[in-house]
């Protein structure tokens, strides 16, 4: 047996990863990991507001990805997309925490996603609040599963602008990475 696990562990340590999960996101996994993150940060004596922000960014990011996967349930690549999900919570310099997530997306969805995130990156806290409240009050189509508020909320709770990358894999898919810092 090789020492691959040791190499992986070393890499996780170097990146400051506290908790990570790779695979299909289910509500149960999101709940368990969310509670674990919260417990872990509580033992490290972080201010309650920081723990709250990390927890809520984690929930929004993972539920967002899960909703994206569910919306592709009827497509042939559903399993591939659903199994491509990853999330990591970690710490970095300046005593900052981060929530970083990634998943495959259809190339057809890139433009829409980029437009939304780029808009959010350009907004200050006050404008984000305004946009959030505007969306909160908007009527939703009857069979909605999401209110389109998740990313705005992540941007509001992050201490610096969202970071993202979209890397083309082939003619159909790209890998989307999103990082929020608290």
């Amino acid at each position: 047996m090789s020492n691959k696990m040791f190499v992986l562990q070393k890499e996780l340590r170097e990146k400051g990863v506290l908790i990570s999960f790779s695979g299909k996101f289910s509500q149960e996994i999101i709940e368990e990991l969310g509670q674990a993150v919260k417990k872990y940060l509580e033992t490290e004596n972080h201010p309650k507001t920081d723990i709250y922000n990390v927890f809520s960014i984690f929930i929004e990011q993972t539920q967002n990805i899960k909703n994206y996967c569910v919306s592709k349930q009827e497509t042939p690549a559903y399993e591939q997309i659903a199994n491509s999900c990853i999330v990591a919570i970690g710490s970095q310099e300046n005593n900052e925490r981060y929530v970083c997530s990634g998943n495959l997306i259809y190339n057809d969805d890139i433009d829409k996603l980029e437009k939304i995130i780029n808009e959010l990156i350009g907004l200050d806290k006050q404008s984000l609040k305004k946009l959030y409240k505007q969306k909160l009050k908007q009527d939703l189509p009857p069979d909605s599963t999401s209110a389109g508020l998740g990313l705005i909320d992540v941007a509001r709770k992050a201490s610096s602008p969202l970071e993202y990358s979209i890397e083309k894999k082939d003619e159909f898919f790209s890998f989307f990475t999103l990082k929020a810092i608290v």
């Binding site: 509670q35 809520s56 539920q63 909160l136 998740g150």
Partner: protein
């Protein structure tokens, strides 16, 4: 009218809607898989309750929401809108919103909802263990 009681789970709050005492309580974290599905029976119950509610009866609502995700926030907003409409139609409605004294974000969240409402909302400090 029948009461509506829903037991709390890890990601859904306890709901206790008591038409006999006119006390409506929601207590706990809310981030279910599908918030709209979870809140639907609550919307239906509240619609019927407010329809039957006689003017002059004091309705006391108690919210303790340590964490709500964005789709639950949307549902809470829809719920508050129903109460607000009833208030503007002359019903007597009062909400106590209990927030963790050590978590200013909970207060901000409650404040943001309050900003858009006409009916009285009191934001109260609570102590968590």
């Amino acid at each position: 009218m029948e009461k509506l009681f829903i037991k709390a789970t890890k990601s859904t709050p306890e709901v206790n809607l008591d038409s006999d005492n006119n006390n409506l309580l929601i207590n706990g974290q809310s981030y279910p898989e599908n918030a709209f599905k979870f809140y639907e029976p609550i919307f239906n119950w509240v619609n019927e309750y407010l329809d039957e509610l006689e003017t002059g009866v004091q309705v006391q609502i108690d919210f303790t929401l340590p964490y709500i995700n964005t789709s639950s926030s949307k549902c809470i907003m829809m719920l508050l809108d129903k109460f607000d409409d009833a208030f503007l139609a002359g019903k007597n409605i009062f909400l106590n919103w209990y927030c963790d004294q050590e978590n200013e974000i909970e207060f901000e969240c409650a404040e943001e909802f309050k900003e858009d409402m006409n009916f009285p909302i009191e934001i109260v400090s609570r102590e968590d263990n």
